[in-house]
Symmetry: C2
Subunit: 900 residues, 2 copies
């Protein structure tokens, strides 16, 4: 038979902190505090299994429950002695609180003072010596119980309370005397009877079961259900119910109540940090009616408060509390968030749990706890949520600054940025060249806008999702980006944007917060990120713990520098197409595209070669000693051609052809589904001369760097979009031939590896034979997600909202890898690739490389490295470390990372 | 030690017909004829393993070969008696022929009369009693040997021959006498020596090895290599060499040579069919200098020939030959293509092989052979190449008609059609309504053109490949189509098409041959297909043999009727989107798309519902007793909106909105990659009202049909583009609710199943959980191929040509399924789907359903049925039968089907 109820109190308990699943977080910690000998009001916990039973059995309780509750109630009575539940003379009052495994908004929270009725209230008055206290407790109880158990809306009571205060010409609740409160109670009860057609329950046992039922009932409120769905909390977890003897912080001036953190949750400083109020109940501290006072003198001084600290007012109790603080930290080995009440000079602990903290604080606490020996370094590393590092790495809006938010979009790339609004990439570049800071505002961006995006402080688009071109590129560049701000209309011609009747002209200052997705008028001041020593220390420990390498996706020398600064151990993806969009180069590129013959193409490519070589030389030098994976040209050629008539004319003039030729070529190159079109290795197969030029540029650069520095770069040539072994078989000789040619000309042979992107489902399945040709695989999980799902990330925004609304998608598969589908493809490819070539180097260079849950999965699969945008490198390093620490039980790691 | 040489002759042989791989087709059959006791000139076969050895060992022969050839040569001498190779008095002459496993153009064919030199020629003259014969043989030998062994071009000899004829004022070669021929030989030899710097080889043994080397050498000529690559013949198969004693059909009037088929290769009639020439060598029959004569009197009479038949001229020999005809058919159990020579009244068999025949003939031969008991029915079924049926099912151009071909494109959909050229779908419809026959000419087609394509006799496009919209739809409708005729420029505005300066005006007659890809001026007469009794008989046998069902993809009542006629056992794919393109309906459809609210959409859908219901009622009735799988709306909504400004204005007027609204909506709906966009079940999830309307139309139709006919249709509702189980979980209740509503309203519950298209890689991997919801899977292998390869079939034309040119792609994966990649996904999904739901119904409705090689694969995987366009149903039936007959060794079946 199951045990449905767990008792605790008086330094003993049937439960333990480890029984969180059964007792909920609150119940488990109350039991644990008893074991620690801390003063906890006696009580009991009804287990989460009762909740599960309740829903599996048509909202009914297990038979044995009544008896168990009765027994536990008797246990409380025994522990508090001299008081009995429902007793007229010495009534025992109870608090009833819900307590799920994970704290959950939308659940019933608390009912206090349960057990009061028209008779016991008199007993309470006599016992406490204060009629005012007793009736104040009673009216609070009626109010709370009615709202959460009986469903009588709160405003009913507010109204009556206001009337009574007016009648008596008082302003504060506390100014009402016992009689007034008694009258108030009567009025409350009358209203309830009017509303419900039956009187307020006077039977304490009925009150108790009503409260227990309300807790279980609140598990299935729509808000709770939605919350669980969004956070992946299974329905069968259920909630527990905690019933405890009431203690009162509001029985007089030797009473108090407070909340505290064992360390400063903002800074992480190892100082007792908290607030309390004399003669008050818990809700008063939070409600803000009275100004809470600081616990410590130091806290009071730091905050310039005039109100006395608890340390001064109740030095003995404070000393006891401070001792408990140390005990709890020593026991839980983490910063605690506690609640306490002092009743007539006696301290009672009502709750302890791990405290929420800022990322800064988390870093400091983890490092200091590890340095003091309280925890070990791997534990410290595990304490930081990798994703949270993001806020440290980008500028943030000054929290004190005023802001006028005019629109919101998706928080596509973190960081805050201000600048003049400009509406074309060229303008952005031109203004930036003049030293202006600009925000590039576009309906959506395309590869043609890259130079403008680079020149801008931030990017704002009105269309596209978290993985639109703008979002992906902005994250890669570390630029702030708000994407898909659909309320804004951009008029590129008029050079304005309009949002709900408000027009922002070209050159007007705007600010975007890419972490919050907000668009603001004017220049909102920002604060620059400063990476603390704690950050550096923790990252060192993380690096020591992890087994998987972390590289960066970096296309430019600037990116490469940032990547190295952030600790990247190489470049996992250097996209060469960005190298073609430079103003000078795109002319040659377009010339190549417009050429009718191979000879014409070669002539144009010959102009690009020295520029690419120069790029590679610089990148190789920056990444000295670290591998650089260079991907051959990937996007379809039409991305390099202009769209508008005027631009076409310019291109025609530059190339010395008529505009019709340009237009015809653009039409020829037009594709219905460019994502699935003439791109990647398909370009290299149709135009081997492009592949040859790029290979030459790479190898000439490698040889030049080796000549200059005496050290050859570690150079990995990556062929994109392989679907068939035969494609790589066709291209490898082209690349090798370029190396041979360079070796023959320069008298020095470049060292290099040839590998492929694995980004198509077929490539995953045929990995065994592709690995015969490829010395490394780099998973392109963006395209693999697109093809596995048949889902274009450029277009998905229009319907994925419905998916999320209906709970069809647990998370965006472009943000966090779809372990079940895309993940299986990656696993298949790893396994088959290694079968053919056991030492094949395996990495991933999709957006997922910077997502902690995905990183955990890649660790589990056994990849050699992940590669992500430079600004996410620290996140990936930390996530990889946590994955290694948690062990290879990747499923759990993914779950944990996703829940965090 | 390997045996390199196999001897034969005199009713005995070391080889057998079954040793084709070792001896090549010709050698194996020569040996087999010896075993049958047929008169075969003695000889030997050098095995294909020698060829393999030759190339693996730097073009050298196995050591033991010389001895083996010498021995075999001695064997020939022993069998012919009284003649010796190289002997001056009684010289043995040889023929040397190549003989691979599969006949292969580009290989060296034949050298005759080998062994002649300045001395042996005199012996031959003495032996034959004809100097003219001897020198004619010698000059032929020199000519042939020089061309194929020594590489002296043929024109050299033509030139000399012409000069000699002029000198002697004769017109025919045969008018040259012995002296003239002797002089000719001298001139030939002089030219050779001049050309090569050395004399024509006089040593017979050197001649023999020269010829053998030439055969092996020709295995690697570029033409042979290309042919093998295109036909998937492995390089290591190698070729054999056949060396035989010469027999002469040109030694006088008691000599002859001929070729024959054991049955008529055009009609299949069981009649001896062949031609011969008296006093001639084999090449003369083919060369066309003399008119060949018929073998039989019947043949002579049927063809109205004046020349005497062999039956008349050489009755004894003919009788013997006719006997051999019976013996060979009885032995090989197939129609034979034979070559023979009569030397001085003695018959010699030079070759037998299975004869090529028309499809008509193949059907008749197979059926008659089975009915006569020569073969069994499964063998008969196996004799017809399924693909070949295509030509029977569509009208063909009258082979005797004149044609002016102005352009060629891809043979996108078989059949020939003539009509007036029109350039828009509306014109096509309007003209057709007037009773005109039209050919719709478009740059490319889109779903908006469907009505015009339907109205037209045929479709001609200037862009797009074999799987472009035009091609796919045309094949589905059974319309002739030539696609991607790139030389043609269409000017839609001017209503003309232009090809190399020639302009075809609107209304001018053109003809297209969709089987050949040709575009012709004017109306070329066609002949209608008539399905013979043989066809019907064979298809009955096929149906009896196959285990897999064959359904049709049919969207309209007309399609459904055609499908039933062609033997479809249900509809595997009824695409409902075509039902929206009808002129009336598209107005309502656009109204729906333009509606801003669900209410507005519902109002528009309500107009479409009765029309869809009527469609379904008709289709259900036609398919009575057979299952009908109806796919819910699949294409993205933008496909239903017009593109041009004028059309937009019309739509705006019709919908009562301004054109800006239409334009804005079109922009909103625009997608970068529509193939991966807001389509399939994604539409139904965003707009459940569409799904609801369609489900209602289906169920109301089902109930109405049951009420009318007393028999409910077998109705399968198919949800397209499922990637996640959750999608189906969300939509099933919507469909079920529609059924509930119909049941409640009509008092009759429609019976139905719900299933999904499996057309995305992720769906294949997650098939186990999708099968929890789906009662059937239908593989959409078109989209599965697109997503597995990351390849858009609309765009692939631009680069797949390079793939084919470089041999990267063995076959177009959109035509014949990619067994290795896409196939594995299908297999995974079958296995996982069945694990969850053992009785799940599995079918395929992609284009591959009509491709024999793919059908073989689907049989192997164990699908319940394939579904293809109505006109391919017979092909699929036959292919399925063959797959079942060949057994479950699918790999081989695929190979065979593909080689056929």
């Amino acid at each position: 038979m199951s045990k449905w109820v767990y008792e605790f109190g008086d330094g003993a308990a049937e439960g333990r902190a480890g029984m969180r699943e059964l007792l909920g977080g609150k119940g488990a910690n109350l039991a644990e505090m008893c074991h620690l000998g801390l003063p906890v009001p006696p009580g009991f916990t009804i287990t989460t299994e009762v909740c599960t039973y309740y829903y599996q059995n048509g909202n009914s309780y297990p038979k044995a429950l009544t008896k168990a509750v009765d027994k536990a109630l008797a246990g409380i009575e025994a522990r508090v002695s001299a008081m009995k539940f429902g007793d007229r003379i010495a009534p025992l009052l109870l608090s009833v609180r819900s307590g799920a495994r994970a704290s959950m908004p939308g659940m019933m929270d608390t009912v206090l003072n349960l057990g009061l009725n028209d008779e016991t209230v008199e007993g309470l008055a006599a016992q406490s010596g204060s009629g005012r206290f007793a009736y104040d407790s009673y009216r609070r109880f009626i109010q709370m119980y009615s709202a959460v158990v009986l469903g009588v809306e709160h405003y009913n009571f507010e109204e009556i309370l206001e009337l009574h205060k007016e009648e008596r010409s008082v302003k504060l609740d506390t100014e009402l005397d016992a009689d007034a409160l008694k009258a108030l109670v009567a009025a409350y009860k009358a209203r309830i009877e009017e509303d419900l057609g039956e009187p307020f329950p006077q039977d304490p046992t009925a009150q108790l079961w009503g409260a227990i039922g309300a807790v279980f009932g609140s598990w299935m409120t729509p808000r709770a259900v939605t919350y669980r769905r969004l956070h992946g909390i299974p329905e069968d977890w259920g909630t527990a119910v905690n019933v405890q003897a009431m203690v009162f912080g509001n029985m007089g001036d030797d009473c108090a109540t407070g909340v505290a953190f064992t360390r400063d949750p903002s800074t992480g400083e190892n100082a007792f940090y908290g607030e309390y109020l004399v003669n008050a109940q818990g809700e008063d501290v939070v409600a803000g009616i009275r100004t809470p006072q600081h616990l410590t003198v130091a806290g009071k001084n730091t905050n310039g408060s005039d109100l006395p600290a608890m340390e001064e007012v109740m030095p003995e109790v404070f000393k006891q509390l401070d001792g408990i603080r140390g005990k709890l930290e020593g026991h839980y080995r983490d910063m605690q968030d506690i609640e306490f009440t002092v009743q007539k000079g006696k301290l009672w602990m009502l709750q302890t749990r791990n405290g929420k903290r800022t990322t800064q604080a988390a870093l400091r606490i983890a490092v200091e706890m590890a340095e003091s020996g309280l925890i070990d370094r791997p534990t410290a590393v595990g304490r930081i949520e990798p994703q949270a590092l993001d806020q440290l790495l980008h500028p943030a809006l000054d929290p004190d600054a005023e802001r006028i938010v005019i629109a919101t979009g998706l928080p596509a790339s973190p960081g805050a940025a201000s600048g003049k609004a400009v509406f074309t990439a060229d303008e952005a570049e031109a203004e930036a060249a003049k030293g202006e800071r600009v925000i590039l505002v576009r309906t959506e961006t395309s590869p043609e806008d890259i130079h403008g995006m680079h020149a801008a402080q931030g990017i704002l688009t009105t269309r596209g999702g978290m993985t639109s071109h703008a979002a992906v590129v902005a994250r890669g560049m570390g630029r702030a980006c708000v994407a898909g701000a659909g309320d804004i209309q951009v008029d590129e011609k008029a050079r304005t944007m309009t949002v709900r009747g408000r027009t922002v002209e070209h050159g007007a200052w705007i600010t975007i917060d890419g972490g919050a997705g907000e668009v603001m008028l004017g220049e909102v001041p920002t604060v620059k990120p400063e990476l603390s020593d704690d950050f550096n220390t923790l990252m060192e420990w993380a690096d020591a713990a992890r087994t998987m390498g972390v590289r960066a996706n970096a296309d430019t020398p600037e990116d490469a520098r940032t990547a190295r600064e952030f600790g990247a151990e190489g470049i996992g993806l250097c996209r060469t197409e960005h190298m073609f969009f430079d103003a000078e180069r795109i002319v040659a590129m377009r010339e190549m595209i417009l050429a009718e013959t191979e000879r014409g193409r070669r002539a144009a490519l010959a102009k690009i070669l020295p520029m690419q070589r120069a790029d590679f030389i610089e990148i190789f030098k920056i990444m000295r000693g670290l591998p650089v994976t260079i991907r051959l040209l990937d996007p379809p050629l039409h991305e390099f051609l202009p769209r508008g008539a005027q631009d076409m004319q310019e291109v025609a003039d530059a190339a010395g052809v008529d505009i019709e030729t340009v237009r015809r070529r653009a039409t020829e190159l037009h594709e219905a589904n460019p994502m699935l079109g003439h791109r990647g290795c398909r370009l290299a197969i149709s135009y081997p001369e492009i592949c040859e030029m790029q290979a030459r540029a790479i190898f000439e650069a490698a040889v030049a760097v080796e000549e200059e520095t005496g050290e050859g770069p570690i150079c990995e040539v990556m062929v994109p979009l392989i679907a068939m072994r035969e494609e790589l078989e066709a291209l490898k000789p082209v690349i090798d031939a370029a190396a041979d040619a360079v070796a023959a000309e320069k008298g020095r042979r470049p060292a290099y590896m040839i590998g492929t992107m694995i980004e198509l489902p077929r490539a995953c399945l045929r990995a065994a034979e592709i690995a015969r040709q490829a010395e490394f695989f780099s998973y392109g999980t963006n395209d693999l997600t697109q093809t596995a799902f048949g889902l274009s990330r450029d277009d998905a925004g229009s319907f994925l909202q419905y998916y999320e609304k209906q709970g069809i998608l647990e998370h965006d598969p472009f943000t966090s890898i779809d372990v079940d589908g895309v993940g299986e493809l990656v696993e298949i490819a790893c396994q088959r690739g290694r079968e053919t070539r056991p030492d094949i180097k395996l990495g991933i260079c999709g957006e997922h490389g910077g997502d902690p849950a995905s990183v955990a999965f890649f660790h589990k699969v056994g990849l050699d490295y992940v590669s992500c945008s430079p600004f996410r490198v620290p996140i990936a390093r930390l996530a990889a470390a946590q994955a290694a620490i948690t062990g290879d039980n990747g499923g759990d790691v993914v779950k944990i990372a996703r829940e965090a």
